[in-house]
Amino acid sequence: MTTRMPIPTPMLMTIAMLDDFLTRAALAGVGLSLATGPLGSFVVWRRMAYFGDATAHAAILGVALALASDLPIGFGIMVVALAMAVTVATLAAKGWAMDTTLGVLAHSALAFGLVAVSFVPGVRTDLSAWLFGDILAVSRGDLAFVWGGAIVVLGLLAWRWQALLTATLNEDLAHASGLNPDRERLALTVALAIVVAVAIKVVGALLIAAMLIIPAAAARSLSRTPEAMAVFAIGIGAVSALGGLYLSLWQDTPAGPSIIVIAAGIFAVTAALSRPRA
């Protein structure tokens, strides 16, 4: 046996805490909120809700392809989510009717994914984990993936923040300021693909879009600036994750949907409390 390096006490405590599945679950939920808060705000501002749904549903197809080809599942999801997002963006640029196109693509991606998964032995049994998430089974590796992905997304959005906001307000204005709205849209697309790959373990493919939209929508009535809305959305997402976990333990409900239930409750409260603005 090799000699062990002495480990400082606080770090030892942290490592011991990570042994607790509940701590890992809580950290995964909070980590995910860091990415879904700001990205979800853009999804709301740019009316990309259905776009997010289509990308998230494509994740199941990514799971199937990754399992069939022995690639890392997160990688498979990211590739398929990115392919879906680029397909949608390309069709939109060609002038396809977006409502119908997204409806076709979102549900087809889900159906193709479910059919493809049925060909992979041993997956059919825990399919619900991919659809609804399995946050209580988050491993240390998963946790690192969630936080790594969230920090990449947060960094990407922070870097492009001013340009993204300008392009969201008015693409011509962005152009005239020397920005390229297409490049900013690509940044959002990449961020969305990463978030889908990161979020599937936490809330599942079916509810990723909800995790993006509901906290941001709940944050809207509390905010006067875009930055405030993004920060509130992070907070509401984190509170929803923790509250959902608590609800799940207390009432033995599925964790992923419980998180969304709490978020929806917060949305109802902030929407009811907000006075109509002049």
Partner: protein, 254 residues
Amino acid sequence: MTLIAADHLCVRFGGSEVLHDVSIAVQPGEIVTIVGPNGSGKSTLLRALLGIVPAAQGRVQRAPGLRIGYVPQRLALDRSLPMTVRRFLSLPVRVSDAAASQALARVGVPAVAQMQMSSLSGGQLQRVLLARALLSDPQLLVLDEPTQGLDQPGEAGFYQLIEDVRAQSGVAVLMVSHDLHVVMAASDRVVCLNGHVCCEGTPHVVSSAPEYRALFGLGTKGALALYQHVHDHDHGHDHAHAHPHSHAHDHSHA
């Protein structure tokens, strides 16, 4: 030195030619107004000059390092996006509070900084858009139908403001007007566009004429003027070129 120029510019969308052989140039300090009927390619010309739509033929030339302040026709002010006026002025380049309040005072809306963009009136919004465009210290202001939706005193007031800004800073102005006949009196040149340049001239300042008073009343202080179209060609019947002929001026389609 020319700030920006289109040189025999053609722009096509799909199979149809929206702009044909358009040449236009803006010199420093000059106010150029573009008029034309709906669908005449006015906005497309601005977008081509800004480099947003590509030229099918011909080319667009800009002075090296040209700083453009752009005032868009509309802003998609979705209620889902919270945005104070102060925050908006810091897009895409962050500006100091002092610079922001100075810019708002300059365009005559000093008290709106903490208001939400979506709660501004049409006239306030145009002035805030102008304030943002001025913050980059532009050499050229590009305005796309800035007075659409404003009433006549509002339009006159906005044109007066543009004139003042030009007088203070020497900025050149390239503006699309939604009105074929009533333009900014301070325009050095008016270009009438209908897929191509139909005619070009100076506005007819008629503030003392009785027709002018009948049209504009006395509240506009000479900021508006008539533009007299002198077209030397016919567009035929298949071409949508609907100049209303109700105004009291000569309008010759020879």
